[in-house]
């Protein structure tokens, strides 16, 4: 297999025990592949399960069936059945994830929030901070904010911090959940450029974007999630 991501018949159902055990099917029969340097955009209305699929690829949601093959350090790991330690290893050196909302530790300065993934991978603090500074500057976060924790920032600023944190590592797979949702036109353009750059570095990406213009700019292929609807 040359694909970085190879998903076959993955499915997910939530069982809500606090609501009398109601079963909430989310997706079924999810199957697609993502090649290096390719950006696949998931489309479909809200609630169709796009974010759930991203979370399954990141190992954040468990899979109830099927297979999520990830090319990791020269072998293929099935994240649907992987041990927690393997999932962590995949996240450290293979898959990056830009979530919809920033979830930062209180009290940690913005620059360190962004630099952290590199430091966790063994980079020297100074080097990681240098790279973080370059990204924050590129995403138009004023330097006077870098020493502050991002919790008091505006929605758009927090999202740009989150993007910087997600883009700082050179990982071969990147998952993007609405990376441009609360950004103005200038910053949206920066994100599009960053995505282009990742493509040139042969990064495989799966993205969710509602903005038609952005989707048109970044998508190499569109996967319609409604075909994976699980409602029986």
């Amino acid at each position: 297999m040359t694909a970085m991501i190879d998903i076959t018949s993955a499915e997910k159902t939530f069982t809500m025990h606090l609501q009398g055990g109601v079963e909430l099917p989310v997706v079924r029969g999810v199957s697609f592949q993502v090649e290096p340097g390719e950006c696949v955009v998931l489309s479909g209305p809200s609630g169709a399960g796009k974010s759930s699929i991203l979370k399954m690829i990141f190992g954040n949601y468990r899979c109830d069936g099927g297979r999520i093959g990830i090319r990791h350090q020269g072998t293929v790991i099935d994240l649907a059945t992987a041990e927690p330690r393997q999932v962590l290893s995949v996240r450290r050196s293979t898959i990056g994830y830009v979530s919809q909302f920033l979830r930062a530790v209180p009290r940690v300065a913005t620059i360190d929030v962004v630099a952290e993934p590199l430091i966790a991978n063994g980079f020297a603090r100074a080097q990681a901070r240098e790279k973080a500074s370059a990204l924050l500057r590129r995403l138009n976060i004023p330097e006077r904010l870098w020493a502050l924790p991002p919790s008091t920032f505006s929605g758009g600023e927090q999202q740009r911090v989150n993007i910087a944190r997600g883009f700082i590592s050179d990982l071969p797979i990147l998952l993007l959940d609405e990376p441009t949702a609360s950004l103005d036109a200038a910053n949206r353009a920066v994100v599009v450029e960053l995505i282009e750059q990742k493509k040139r570095q042969r990064v495989a990406m799966v993205a969710i974007v509602h903005d038609d213009e952005i989707r048109h700019l970044i998508a190499d292929r569109i996967v319609d999630v409604t075909s994976f609807a699980a409602a029986a």
């Binding site: 025990h17 468990r62 927690p84 330690r85 999932v87 009290r107 966790a120 980079f123």
Partner: protein, 266 residues
């Protein structure tokens, strides 16, 4: 460029629990717990009061003998040993150097009447350090690392605030460069602002030192911030286990769903 480290690739577990159980007469405090902890890995044990999590921590740290099963630990020579088979000297070695134990109540883990410097230095003397100047320098640099003003080095911890005491306890534990630290509700009883600072500090120290840790907490936010993996306990049994974000974002068991849904929004 720094060599990327991947301590989780280390395939030798540091601590292994096999079917560990503890009964008090007919009362089962802890039943059939099995897991392996790897170097650099942080495991949170969560559950309500009475779920057996503190008993389990005592079993894992050789303070209680299990009624069933066994706990093994990889000694510094690389050999995995059953804790129950260790001699007194080996046990003391673990407690003094290779392990740390952070108590919820700092007064239990510190000597409240001797100076902060002596509290940290004592662990070094126990492993054979005898040069006063070097001990004091090391103690002082550890106070700095845990953000305690070194001007307070000669003060006794009973004059410290709750948050400072807890940070001093951490310094005392980490000064001997242990490989495994047990923490029992490390942020319990502290103000939220003090908790946030302590959590941030512990998170950094754990990752910088590549420590393995087992953290008992009833606070899911603490588990989320500190741990890689979580075990949920109820009635003395482990009912759900997995990656921390997976268990908290996609809880499967009814009790875990109840715990997660009971978190008050900030």
């Amino acid at each position: 460029m720094a060599e990327p480290q991947d301590s989780m690739q280390d395939d030798q577990p540091l601590l292994v629990a096999e079917n560990v159980g503890k009964n008090y007469g007919r009362l089962t405090a802890c039943h059939d717990v099995s897991f392996a902890l790897y170097p650099g890995e942080v495991l949170a044990i969560v559950g309500e009061s009475g779920s057996g999590k503190s008993t389990l921590l005592q079993l894992l740290s050789a303070q209680l003998a299990p009624s069933a099963g066994r706990v093994s630990y990889r000694m510094r020579d690389g050999v995995l040993r059953d804790l129950a088979s260790l001699g007194e000297a080996e046990r003391r070695f673990l407690f003094r150097t290779d392990w740390g134990y952070v108590h919820q109540d700092a007064a239990q883990g510190l000597r409240m009447a001797v100076s902060a410097g002596a509290n940290v230095g004592e662990r070094l003397m126990a492993v054979g350090w005898n040069h006063y100047g070097r001990i004091r320098d090391t103690a002082s640099s550890w106070l700095e690392r845990v953000e305690i003003d070194t001007a307070r080095i000669d003060d006794a911890p009973r004059t410290y605030s709750g948050g400072m005491r807890q940070r001093l306890q951490i310094a005392r534990n980490l000064v001997t460069e242990p490989r495994l630290v047990f923490m029992d509700e490390p942020t319990g009883g502290l103000d939220v602002s003090v908790q946030a600072r302590l959590l941030d500090l512990m998170r950094n120290l754990v990752s910088e030192l590549g420590l393995a840790a087992i953290v008992v907490t009833h606070d899911l936010a603490v588990a989320r911030l500190l741990s890689h993996r979580v075990m949920v306990m109820k009635g003395g049994r482990v009912i759900e286990t997995g990656l921390t974000d997976q268990v908290l974002d996609d809880p499967c068991e009814p009790y875990t769903q109840l715990l997660v849904s009971s978190i008050l929004p900030a």
